[in-house]
């Protein structure tokens, strides 16, 4: 470490070159960090899916409903700890571009099913008591500038009120989540409110899907089979799968974003490896005689090698860590680049750690060849070269 000063002087010898090398490494890791956030967003929070939850959908497709009484029938199955249900409402606020996730649910069982949605106790009470009440995620509250107590209209796309008017909801409360990456854009309201209004259209007591909590995740496949068997050959057959598989399937339908982002990140880092290695090689070549003098003074091969390696590692660390840092700031402060379509846009800590490992790897890889050359330099040859 006492040679850090020499390393620093060497780096500062050609400031412009050092700065541009730093900048290319910086950009590569900025890109890496940002891409990892994109990848996480398109993973749709599959890592957060509850291991003990199952989704029950209509077998034909998710747009087909199922009778509400399925809930009671499922409740009776052994291994089922709790059940709740939901309908995709598909409403938008004022303009069609303001679409967000809103669902009609059974409030008490819904909140019990999803402990990650945290609602203040008094707001929860207010919601349960108000049939037109709704609970909204903090991200959507911020997006539209809503406040608790507001009465807001939503235009319906699927379920229309008999008089064609907008649906109005009282915001009883908000939910937040201590778990990073939880979707905080949704709006939940009373299924009863929906059911009552659409009764005249013949669509009453129909639900979109069921969510089951099993007593033990190990029983999940077994319970799923029992549910599907119960409704086999009925008017409405079901398809039950773990929440994780459901989310993963959903993400897969968007396409292999994960692979694409990894390829791009790999390309960017490989390019920077080339550039840095080239710069290092060039700067060592220029200093051949100096290195020979160092060796003459008694610096061992290993010491010279490690000094060159240190130089490339310092470059990589300064450039790479600041790039990762800016990526983190951009993702955290700037948020979703598309406005509102990627609710789980964040940079997980473990991917930051992967980035740091790559930074160090880049430092060693780009310095390896020049360091090796410098280490095995023969003093006589080197001094004669010029």
């Amino acid at each position: 470490m006492k040679f850090l000063h020499i390393v620093w002087k060497n780096l500062m010898r050609k400031k412009i070159r050092t700065i541009f090398t730093l900048l290319s490494i910086f950009v590569a890791f900025l890109l890496f960090g940002y891409l990892m956030a994109v990848r996480t967003a398109f993973g749709m929070g599959v890592d957060l899916a509850g291991a003990d939850r199952l989704m029950v959908l209509n077998k034909i497709s998710l747009i087909m409903p199922m009778p509400r009484n399925y809930m009671g029938k499922v409740q009776a199955i052994e291994g089922v700890k709790a059940v709740t249900h939901a309908n995709w409402f598909g409403g938008y606020y004022q303009e069609t571009k303001n679409q967000f996730a809103n669902m009609a649910v059974e409030p008490a069982s819904w909140l019990a099913m999803y402990p990650e949605f945290v609602v203040a106790e008094d707001q929860k009470k207010a919601w349960l008591a108000d049939r037109q009440g709704a609970v909204v995620g903090v991200d959507t509250m911020k997006r539209f500038g809503w406040k608790v107590g507001d009465r807001i209209p939503l235009q319906a796309t699927i379920f229309r009120r008999p008089d064609r008017s907008a649906w109005e909801f009282n915001i009883s409360g908000t939910y937040d989540s201590p778990i990073k990456g939880t979707d905080k854009t949704q709006l939940f309201f009373h299924y009863e409110y929906l059911n009552e209004a659409v009764r005249s259209s013949g669509f009453s007591d129909q639900i979109g899907w069921l969510v089951i909590k099993v007593d033990d995740p190990a029983h999940s496949p077994d319970v799923a089979k029992k549910v599907d068997a119960l409704f086999a050959n009925s008017q409405t057959e079901t398809k039950t799968d773990s929440e994780k598989n459901f989310v993963a399937g959903w993400a897969k339908q968007i396409g292999n974003i994960s692979l694409i982002t990894q390829l791009i990140a790999a390309a960017a880092i490989f390019m920077m490896l080339l550039v840095t290695a080239n710069t290092m090689a060039q700067s060592i070549r220029e200093r051949t005689s100096e290195l020979a003098v160092l060796k003459t003074l008694g610096f061992g091969d290993g010491r010279v090698l490690s000094m060159v390696l240190m130089e490339s590692c310092v470059l990589a660390l300064v450039g790479g860590l600041s790039g990762l840092g800016l990526a983190w700031v951009l993702v955290t402060v700037g948020g979703d680049p598309t406005g509102s379509f990627l609710p789980t846009f964040y940079l997980p800590l473990e991917l930051v750690a992967v980035g740091v490992v790559m930074v160090i790897a880049l430092g060693f890889a780009s310095g390896a060849v020049p360091a090796w050359q410098a280490g095995r330099l023969r003093i006589v040859d080197a001094l004669r070269r010029n």
């Binding site: 087909m64 390019m271 550039v275 060039q282 598309t338």
Partner: protein, 393 residues
């Protein structure tokens, strides 16, 4: 002056071979950027082509007022009848060229793995081909009305399992026989599966209702008159939109996501590449400091020197751009994939498209990267005092 420029530049370009290592780095760097740039943008281009290439302005989609996608629209059988009877629709001896349709999705496994995807399933009426002149049955035959036969779009047949002529699939309680494959100039319809609307209605418990009516107009200009006639009718409350505009609106969200993120990535990569190019050119210039100084001592002006450095970096970046373009074209063009359209939750198949326009943009982009990257080193080379430079090294 001109002869100086030519002389210095040609010396420069010919001596690239001596500096092969760092030149290769520059070329590979630029090629890498171009590959990523084209890869990302070809997704957007291909998607755009699938969503909008051949929507026909004479084809009109009529939906329930307030609906912006067929998925959430709903029209009673009576309303559909009234829409079809509206004056202004093209007519043949069979009646108005209009097709009331149902648009639903069905869970069906993809070819790649067995996981289910949301495949769009469309129930159409006999005039479906009349309102969509671009659709042609290319294999097998059209379904027979009243039976549970289906025809499958070319892209859907490629993307999803077991959808070839002669096979049969089971969805819910019904068995369906695949009897034909159709093409539609590569547009979104090719991601769909078609069957008789009247067969689909009971299968999806839709009674006698539809979701949209596709209508063919005699000319493009008659749209306003037709729209007015619809609005004037108090029995129905509907909205009418031209097919190209409908397609464009359908893909808006996804297109926005692809282009925002695509340009962000391509932009960042570009900035990184400029830094890389600057470095490479700096290295190239500094190894030749003495050479350049000698030229200047011989009486070559500074402009030819600047020009020669710039031309070298432009040459290297163009080579890189070309290599990257060819590699991207070979790797991505025509690559079949599918994604989910957020507005209807259904799958849409499309192919990556590395178009000549994109290739052009990529070449210009690489040239700009090269010029920007060469600028600083070139100025430095020209401004170096001859005496100092000769003494260097």
């Amino acid at each position: 002056m001109l002869s100086q420029i030519i002389a210095v530049s040609s010396v420069n370009l010919r001596s690239i071979r001596q500096r092969l290592g760092s030149s290769v780095v520059a070329i590979v760097g630029i090629a890498g950027v171009v590959i990523v740039f084209l890869g990302v943008l070809s997704i957007g281009e291909g998607f755009k082509a699938a969503m909008s290439s051949v929507g026909d302005p004479r084809t009109i989609i009529v939906m329930r007022a307030g609906s912006d996608t067929e998925m959430t629209s709903g029209l009673s059988g009576d309303a559909a009848r009234i829409i079809m009877d509206t004056p202004g629709i093209e007519r043949t001896e069979r009646g108005p060229v209009a097709s009331p349709e149902l648009f639903v999705i069905v869970a069906h496994p993809t070819r790649k793995d067995t996981s289910d995807a949301n495949v769009p399933l469309r129930g159409v009426s006999p005039e479906a081909l009349g309102v969509r002149p671009e659709v042609k049955i290319v294999e097998g035959r059209m379904f027979t009305p009243g039976t549970s036969e289906i025809v499958v779009g070319r892209a859907a047949s490629r993307q999803f399992a077991g959808l070839t002529v002669g096979s049969s699939v089971r969805w819910g309680k019904n068995n369906w026989q695949v009897v034909g494959i159709f093409e539609a100039h590569g547009n979104a319809a090719e991601s769909e599966i078609w069957t008789d609307a009247r067969v689909l209605q009971p299968a999806y418990q839709r009674g006698n209702s539809y979701q949209s009516v596709y209508v063919r107009l005699p000319s493009e200009d008659s749209f306003q008159a037709f729209k007015d006639a619809l609005t004037a009718n108090p029995q129905i409350s509907v909205t009418a939109i031209r097919e190209p505009e409908y397609f464009a609106a359908q893909s808006e969200v996804l297109h926005q996501i692809i282009t925002t993120i695509g340009f962000l990535i391509a932009g960042l990569m570009g900035i990184g590449a400029v830094f890389g190019a600057v470095n490479t050119m700096y290295t190239a210039v500094s190894t030749r400091t003495r050479e350049i100084a000698t030229l200047r001592a011989l009486g070559f002006g500074s402009f030819p020197v600047v020009f020669s450095v710039l031309s070298e970096s432009a040459f290297l970046s163009l080579v890189g751009g070309l290599i990257g373009g060819i590699a991207a074209w070979a790797a991505f063009d025509g690559y079949q994939t599918s994604t989910m359209n957020f507005q209807s939750f259904s799958q849409i198949a499309f192919a990556f498209a590395v178009t000549p326009r994109l290739l052009m943009i990529a070449l210009i982009y690489s040239l700009v990267m090269g010029l920007v990257g060469g600028m600083l080193p070139a100025i430095r080379a020209a401004r170096l005092p001859v005496v100092t430079a000769l003494r260097e090294l």
